[in-house]
């Protein structure tokens, strides 16, 4: 299925969990937050959230600013 990760279209296996998507982007265990289709998904739910085709996933962290 095709999903959008941080603005880039990606082909991933069907039913891929959010946890595996995040792990593919960053190895950092802390300082990461995730939204799916604009909704914040808490870390505790990453492993149980199954993604659907077309889902838009944002994986954010703290950077220099302000």
């Amino acid at each position: 299925m095709r999903i959008v990760i941080n603005g880039e279209h990606r082909e991933v296996p069907d039913q891929m969990s959010l946890e595996r998507v995040v792990a593919a982007i960053t190895t950092s265990a802390t300082g990461i937050a995730v939204a799916v289709n604009g909704e914040v998904v808490r870390r505790a739910s990453w492993s149980s959230v199954a993604l659907a085709p077309g889902d838009e996933i944002e994986v954010l962290t703290a950077v220099q600013g302000g």
Binding site: I25, A33, V40, L60, A62, V63, Q64, G65, G66
Partner: protein, 258 residues
């Protein structure tokens, strides 16, 4: 330094800070330079922004703060609507395990001025969600009052537009805000050099928040040290009480009696 000088913590929402200089992290040429500047500034609270993970990024600003025991204050920089700002604050809370947020809702990229309508809306929503909200606001005493009434833990008026280095364009309004506010007034944005920071404190601000003036200075570490001294000097002068301005001279020596 004597206790009279040092025993004067900044208190925001019940949390105490030994330094009245809050730092931003934007604009530093490297994390190494940033780290040395933060150490020189003496800051205990520093802002970061939330952005997409860059898999190629080397090092993390969070590591720089953690290594120095500096508390992290996420901001909502880059948000143009209340909805965006609330979502960003919630993501920051999830990533950084803090419910504190520097709330920024800007109107356009040219001025980076706060959008007061969206700002107040976002502040009300975030207070309702249990956040400790520190809003970046215009130098408008009426808007500051509305933000305080909404439950914000501080109000953070600009001295001048972000990154402009123009100093405090309307000191009268800042003074009005200080007089009327029961939450800390923190001068945020526009500081260009040390005297601007000292003036903010002399006007009665509880703290100063700055980034560009340090991170884009020729020597960021040295400027950070200058800002640290300026904030302390301005605070001491405010507490000491300046003399009134006079039109004519007033002799400082007793009359000569020959």
């Amino acid at each position: 330094m004597s206790e009279m000088v040092t025993d004067d913590p900044l208190v925001i929402a019940g949390a105490k800070f030994g330094s009245r200089l809050i730092m931003g992290t934007g604009g530093a040429p490297s994390l190494d330079v940033l780290g040395r500047a933060l150490t020189a500034s003496g800051t205990e609270l520093t802002t970061v922004a939330m952005r997409r993970v860059d898999p190629a990024a080397a090092g993390s600003v969070l590591d720089v703060l953690t290594a120095r025991g500096i508390a992290v204050l996420p901001n909502t920089a880059g948000c143009f609507t209340a909805a965006e700002a609330v979502r960003t604050a919630r993501l920051a809370a999830e990533a950084l395990e803090t419910t504190w947020v520097k709330l920024e809702v800007i109107a356009d990229e040219i001025t980076l001025l706060p959008d007061p309508i969206e700002l107040l809306d976002a502040a009300e929503q975030l207070v309702g969600l249990g956040f400790t909200v520190l809003p970046y606001t215009n130098d408008d005493p009426v808007l500051a009052r509305r933000l305080e009434q909404a439950g914000c833990a501080a109000v953070m008026p600009l001295g001048a537009p972000i990154g402009s280095g123009l100093g405090i364009r309307n000191p009268h309004n800042i003074e009005l805000m200080v007089q009327a506010s029961s939450v800390p007034v923190i001068l945020d944005a526009g500081i260009g050099t040390a005297s601007d920071a000292a003036l903010a404190m002399e006007l009665g601000c509880e703290a100063v928040l700055l980034a560009t003036a340090v991170t884009r200075a020729r020597d960021p570490e040295l400027m950070a040290a200058a800002m640290r001294s300026a904030v302390l000097a301005g605070r001491l002068a405010y507490r000491a009480g300046r003399i009134p301005r006079r039109r004519y001279a007033k002799a400082s020596s007793p009359p000569y009696q020959g």
